[in-house]
């Protein structure tokens, strides 16, 4: 087996998006008939790497070889022609079409003059389905099927095109435990039949269950590739989470007092109608920073939306300072004393074509200081902006500059300034340092601690374990819509990593 060329080889793959390096000299090889897991946190570069493989991106540097031959993959069609099939995390299916139509799209069996031979298509689908044990209903319309079946359709689609290399991107993210077991059974069957599989995941338990070899990526680099034998959740977690060089702000001990935010048995649905928050309880007291740690997609967004008033929960309670605000909208939340530093400052935090003065007024523009009976006090708005820009040391523009002309760090300072200026009881900071440089990160961290010392309650939602440990007085780990556990900030990487990835008390499959 070692003399055969690998089914797939990625050598020295580097991908840059402007200044951001998503993949940095990554080597990855896939042997025939093996399941090779690609492990890493968010932003580690897993999906980018696979998008390169599937022809959706071209690598800045590096080479790809299939069966020993160097190849150029410029489009999904090329990848398909090489026998590479991809099952995306967000399914690439046409919701209103049937299972069969989706599977054969682009490669439809037909009779004369292009007339579809749907019967033939259905037969072929059934045959493939039986061969690999992928149960699907050929006539069902996709949007009426379960997520599990949709995934099977995606897999069948790849197999229909003769894929010998299958890439699955976070396949278990949307599956129930039962469906995961089914999937693994299918993967093993495929393995037997000679298909080589790349399994991208952040779930340690599952990876240890299904993979033959495991490659860990962190911040775009390949850390190591290990065989299953000998690997443990702890060793993998350490490689994944790691310890990077980052400034640690001195943090005096906090002095928490009475609870400000009380969330009880909260249930919230996501945009697709699935339950993202499944009966979650948490409490944040004045004068403390509670960090919500976890891998993206475990319900953080929906939780934050519910607290900020942007989303109505299914059931449960959200109370701020004793006032119930669940399901009552953003203004009610704001009036109760909630401020929200949004996760995506371009899309949600700022109006980029507005001036800094206008952006700073977004929350408070109806206050008597800034407007009277519908007329804006332009000068007051501008003066306020000048004051805030100075206080928060925002550089690169003045009150009349457009928000779009500032750097990311300074833009974030503007968001932070605006929210804190509203004098909130509860400050939600959702990924406050995403995409920022070290200096800006330090500023934000310092500011959050200062506000904590002003007796505000701060809920920090972050995907960066470093940040979480640096800022938190208490760490709550969220996993699959519930709090998986509470840790002190001095918890080890392993403890954190395990809780974040559903390990420890949970058994895979």
């Amino acid at each position: 087996m070692t003399t055969d060329p690998a089914a797939l080889e990625l050598r020295g793959i580097t991908k840059r998006f402007g200044a951001v390096v998503a993949n940095d000299g990554v080597d990855f090889d896939l042997r025939r008939g093996e399941v090779h897991a690609l492990l890493g946190e968010n932003g580690a570069g897993k999906s980018t790497l696979m998008s390169i493989l599937y022809g959706l991106y071209t690598p800045t540097e590096g080479e790809i070889r299939v069966d020993g031959e160097p190849v150029q993959i410029d489009s999904p069609a090329d990848a398909i022609a090489l026998g590479i099939g991809m099952v995306h995390q967000h399914f690439m299916l046409v919701p209103v079409m049937t299972v069969t139509e989706n599977i054969v799209l682009g490669n439809e069996p037909s009779r004369a003059a292009g007339v579809l031979d749907l019967k033939e298509a259905a037969d072929r689908v059934r045959e493939l389905s039986d061969r690999y044990g992928l149960a699907v209903n050929p006539d069902a319309v996709i949007e009426d099927t379960t997520v599990g079946m949709q995934q099977r359709v995606e897999i069948l689609r790849a197999l229909y095109r003769g894929a010998k290399i299958l890439v699955l991107d976070e396949p278990t993210a949307v599956l129930t435990a039962q469906e995961v077991a089914e999937l693994f059974r299918v993967l093993r069957a495929l393995k037997e039949a000679g298909t080589s599989i790349v399994f991208i995941s952040h779930k340690l338990g599952e990876v240890l269950d299904i993979a033959d070899r495991i490659t860990v990526l962190r911040r775009g680099k390949r850390i190591d590739t290990v065989p299953k034998a000998g690997a443990t959740e702890e060793s993998l977690a350490r490689m994944m989470v790691g310890r990077d060089v980052l400034l640690r702000v001195d943090k005096p001990a906090g002095r928490p007092s009475e609870p400000v935010l009380s969330v009880r048995d909260l249930h919230v649905r996501d945009d697709r109608g699935l339950e993202a928050v499944r009966g979650l309880d948490l409490q944040v007291r004045a004068g403390e920073i509670v960090a919500l740690a976890g891998v993206d997609g475990n319900g953080q967004q929906e939780l934050v939306d519910a607290i900020a008033g942007l989303r109505d929960p299914e059931s449960g309670s959200v109370a701020v300072g004793g006032v119930e605000i669940a399901g009552r909208g953003v203004r009610a939340a704001t009036d109760a004393g909630v401020a929200h530093i949004a996760e995506d400052r371009h899309r949600r935090g700022l109006v980029l074509p507005f001036t800094l003065a206008e952006n700073l007024a977004l929350r408070e523009y109806r206050s008597p200081e800034l407007s009277t009976r519908g007329w804006l006090h332009v000068r007051a708005i501008r003066d306020r902006a000048r004051r805030l820009l100075k206080e928060y040391d925002v550089r690169g523009g003045d009150a009349d500059s457009l928000a779009s002309s500032l750097s990311g760090g300074n833009q974030q300072k503007v968001c932070v300034a605006r929210e804190i200026e509203a004098d909130p009881k509860l400050l939600i900071a959702h990924q406050p340092t995403r995409g920022l440089d070290v200096g800006a990160i330090e500023f934000v961290h310092r500011r959050l601690i200062a506000e904590r010392d002003e007796s505000r309650a701060i809920l920090l939602v972050s995907l960066e374990s470093e940040e979480v440990r640096a800022l938190a007085d208490r760490i709550l780990v969220i996993y699959e819509g519930r709090i998986a556990g509470e840790l002190a900030p001095d918890a080890s990487d392993e403890e954190l990593g395990i809780l974040m990835t559903g390990g420890g008390s949970r058994t895979a499959a």
């Binding site: 968010n42 995390q89 997609g297 989303r311 980029l352 074509p353 519908g374």
Partner: protein
Amino acid sequence: MTDQPLDPVDAGAITTPAARLASYIRGGGIVVPLLTALIAFVIAGLIVLITGHNPLTTYKAFFDGTGLNWLFPWTSGDDRTTAALNLQQTLIATAPLILVGLAVAFAFRAGLFNIGGQGQYLAGSIVAVWFGSKFSGMPHLLHVLLVIVLACAAGAAWAGIAGVLKATVGANEVISTIMLNWIAVWVGVWLFGLGGPLQNPETPSVPISSDVTGSAKLPVFWGNPNLQGLHVGLFIALATVVVFWALLNRSTSGYEVRAVGFNPEAARYSGMNVARNYVKVMAICGLFAGLAGAIDILGWQFRLATNDIQTSDIGFLGIAVALLGRNTASGTVAAALLFGALKSGTSQRNLDPSIFEPSLAFNLTLMIQGLVVLIVSTDVIALRILRRGGALNPFRRRPAPAEEEAT
């Protein structure tokens, strides 16, 4: 896709029409509209050339027809008198164009596409001619004010229908305003047609409205009132431009409108009610267009025939005006002047037919309009996903507790 990097290109991909236009305005924005107009005129000139006419003399004839040469001190004597008359016509045409342009521009600033200017204008015209022809004993100022207020209300209500539909069921405002345009036309034709409820009782064989009484007519300040002189509607229009600007840039409503137009997500995150803003915006747009109808009726038309209703296209010209003017106050005025000049310069009354046939010129104007809008369309890259309501994007909903599953 959790691995996507946050880089400037990403932000650009989600900007709204208003946002993109804003970057044009800031970035030396006057050059682009000028260039756009120039390109359109050049292409039209080519068409003139290809069809065997002389573009240069043609354009000169247009220009003379606009009366803008009155502004040149070297025009004198008879030429000056003709130019004066022509200029009055140009400005008469410009005034309502400013207003319908504002009606489209204001909507664009909020991220909405108001194609309903024509219907809203008609609503205003109809109400204006209806109430303008009654109450002949009323004091002048009061009568005029009353008619104007009612016409504005009519326009606002007409546009409001589309706004409400969008806010409640998410109906696409493009389709609903187009439909409302045609409904307004037919209702108008019905009202003033033979046997219709508002037909002039004194001329039962003519499908026309009653005449506006003297007490409701707008005073003329330049030229001869009997020969369609320039009326104060121009000042009303200009005053409205100031209102437009103040509303948009100095009021909380305008602030909300702009925020929603630039970034509805962020607006929502700040607690603004996006849906309610849409209704407000549409109503204000309708008000502007209805006002246009009023000043035309009270200023020079004085009556409405079913033929007028069916051939009127000022609402659509308003779209070209707003787009060329980049949806700003000053831009709209300038673009309105351009199109107003073009309209009167190519009219039967003002264009010398020996140089270029007015009916040909009329169609040439349409082509120029089309070219302008076409060129501008590439600026307006609309990722309307952020503003689609239920009818066109079934996934864009905040899940609420007891929501029934809509099929």
